[in-house]
């Protein structure tokens, strides 16, 4: 590999720069706490972080280029491979964007199925986050609890569409699979069983003195910084900005459900933890309402077999578990998209890392990477 040399002049203009004790430390790309192949070059003064630089792209697969060489339907499974712990959300965003371009809308039953699965996926994604985040900080048990309970969600996915992780659950125009017998009961059973388990997670962590000391006041992001940096999702809400695309610009049938948007006060790692825990509770609320109101009817809109959306361009975004996931699609009227741009929440949120860790200790860097909840498959695409 060609070694980088340019990091040596990293931030030499920084006022806190002390060259006598400066140390450059390479974290990753193969490091368990970077949640994938992320390389962070840390510039340290003793154990204090003076500056960081992220080196990304190790998982770059050229998803946007692939899209230009596939038909609209053929590209659909690829989006699952970006944020692979929340594949259902990725698929939802893509299908909706193409539907908007094609000017069709999924039938009500399909919309309800989509909401149920997407909210289950939000819980699963937050469980992976919580388990690994707590593990990074030193709490081993939550990992086992979270993955044990996530299994129930994956079973529902598997029964519904045959796949556990990269589900390809939705199609452009609706859903391709009808719900299986007992789908509603499985969802409700999960909801009933999950809430006490969520309390168990909280018992382990929320008032745990070590957890609180490791997370409170660590990696603070002010709301104005969040907005300037384009940070979205739970990280933005933990800083006190009550903004969620499901409420701000409702898609699917989210305007029919009653749910709250949790926000934090301090914008630190502890608040982001509380916000995500509460989001899981709200997701359970949405799932219950959606299962209760699940209408009968078709699950697929009438769309042509060979999809040729009219010439035009569209930007559509959804509230993925990690933030605003957007698709900018340009159609030239042919069977293949002319350009697909993915606006990945992880990529944009990761940019805030430098601002969050300056002045903290090396151990806090691990906590902050965890709290940002990035998936490198989505950062690199």
């Amino acid at each position: 590999m060609s070694e980088r040399t340019d990091y040596l002049d990293l931030d030499t203009k920084d006022e806190t720069f002390l060259d006598a004790t400066e140390l450059v430390l390479n974290m990753g790309p193969q490091h368990p706490s970077t949640h994938g192949v992320l390389r962070v070059i840390l510039k340290l003064d003793g154990e204090k972080v003076l500056g960081t630089e992220c080196v990304i792209g190790y998982l770059h697969r050229g998803v946007e280029k692939i899209a230009e060489n596939r038909t609209y339907a053929m590209f659909n499974p690829y989006v699952d491979r970006m944020d692979y712990v929340a594949a259902v959300s990725n698929g939802l965003g893509y299908c909706e964007a193409v539907e908007k371009l094609q000017n069709v809308e999924a039938p009500p039953r399909a919309q309800y199925i989509r909401v149920i699965l997407t909210e289950l996926c939000r819980i699963a994604s937050h469980q992976v986050w919580l388990g690994t985040h707590a593990l990074d900080i030193g709490a081993l048990t939550p990992l086992f609890y979270c993955f044990r309970d996530r299994e129930e969600i994956l079973k529902i996915f598997e029964k519904y569409c045959g796949a556990r992780l990269t589900t390809h659950a939705f199609r452009i125009g609706g859903c391709i699979y009808e719900t299986y017998d007992g789908f509603e009961q499985d969802c409700l059973k999960f909801c009933d069983a999950f809430l006490p388990k969520l309390d168990e997670y909280e018992e382990l962590l929320t008032t745990n003195r070590i957890w609180v000391r490791r997370t409170r006041g660590v990696g603070i992001l002010k709301p104005e910084d969040c907005i300037a940096l384009g940070v979205t999702g739970p990280v933005l809400r933990a800083s006190g900005v009550k903004w969620d695309l499901r409420k701000a610009q409702p898609y699917e049938c989210y305007n029919k459900f009653d749910f709250e948007i949790p926000t934090g006060l301090n914008g630190d790692t502890y608040d982001r933890y509380l916000v995500r825990i509460e989001e899981m509770r709200q997701a359970v609320r949405i799932i219950r309402q959606a299962v209760d109101g699940l209408p009968q009817g078709p699950i697929m809109a009438k769309i042509p077999k060979v999809l040729k959306p009219p010439v035009g361009e569209i930007y559509h975004s959804i509230e993925a578990p990690k933030g605003e996931l957007g698709y900018f699609i340009v159609s030239d009227g042919s069977t293949q998209p002319y350009r697909v741009r993915v606006r990945p929440p992880s990529f944009v949120n990761l940019q805030a890392l430098d601002k969050m860790v300056r002045g903290l200790l090396v151990a806090d860097v691990v906590a902050v990477i965890g709290t940002l909840d990035i998936v490198l498959g989505e950062v690199d695409r």
Partner: protein
């Protein structure tokens, strides 16, 4: 692996997608004239040895040609036209137009989404104004689209959102290959990585960017993959050989 060989079919999808149309087309053609199947086969044959640059356009021309003979049987009614952009008129547009005149080339909405097309010389001023005066404080995304046949080859698209108005607006501008745009990192910090990605994928420069270098691809990589003249299987063979010690990444 030699690149030209692979680039012969940069779009393996197309022949497959047009394949179901051709068997249906053949009987219909046989009934009509003997010349037609030969005529419809010609563009398909011409598409194969085409240069990589021409491939995307040829492929697009071939697809409707292959679909046409089957069309009368499958759908008798012509497909309704898609939605058209409608003019967008508002106080903001009027004041911008009175200030910049022809610099504002287009103000439209397309399926409810608003966008402005502005001259590249004034785009920085307009973006600054959008943030400060119109409260579009959140830069959602910056991206580019390549149109190799146009004189100004690149569209740069700024997607803005306003928390106050709960509204999205796209600001588009067009620039030529080799031209640079003024970086907007001073307006929105988030533009840093977004502009680096555009530089990485399209080779578009941003003047005044604090750290403009590749972000997803390796530093020494040659070529800009999201340009239309960069086929999907192309790679920087030299880089792969030197750094990975293998003949090809394919």
């Amino acid at each position: 692996m030699a690149v030209p060989e692979e680039t012969k079919d940069p779009n393996p999808v197309l022949p497959e997608s047009s394949a179901p149309a051709s068997p249906a087309a053949k009987p219909a053609d046989a009934l009509a004239t003997a010349d037609k199947p030969i005529a419809s086969a010609a563009p398909a044959a011409a598409a194969k040895p085409a240069t990589p640059e021409a491939a995307p356009t040829v492929a697009k021309a071939a697809a409707p040609a292959a679909a046409k003979p089957a069309a009368p049987a499958a759908k008798p009614a012509p497909k309704p036209e898609g939605p058209k952009p409608e003019p967008w008129d508002s106080e903001l547009v009027r004041s911008l137009k009175s200030q910049y005149g022809s610099g504002i080339r287009e103000a439209s909405t397309y399926v409810g989404q608003k966008y402005l097309v502005v001259d590249s010389s004034i785009v920085y001023e307009i973006l600054l104004r959008m943030r400060d005066d119109e409260l579009f404080d959140y830069c959602v995304d910056i991206t580019a689209v390549h149109y190799p046949k146009r004189e100004a080859q690149f569209d740069i698209v700024y997607i803005l959102y306003s928390f106050h108005h709960n509204q999205r607006v796209r600001i588009k501008t067009q620039i030529k290959d080799g031209a640079t745009l003024r970086s907007v990192v001073g307006i929105w910090e988030t533009a840093n990585w977004l502009e680096r990605e555009i530089y990485d994928m399209f080779g578009i420069g941003f003047s005044g960017h604090p750290d403009l270098k590749r972000i997803l691809l390796p530093d020494g990589w040659k070529g800009y993959p999201l340009r239309k003249d960069y086929p999907i299987l192309q790679q920087d063979t030299e880089w792969v050989k030197a750094n990975l010690g293998i003949e090809s990444g394919q």
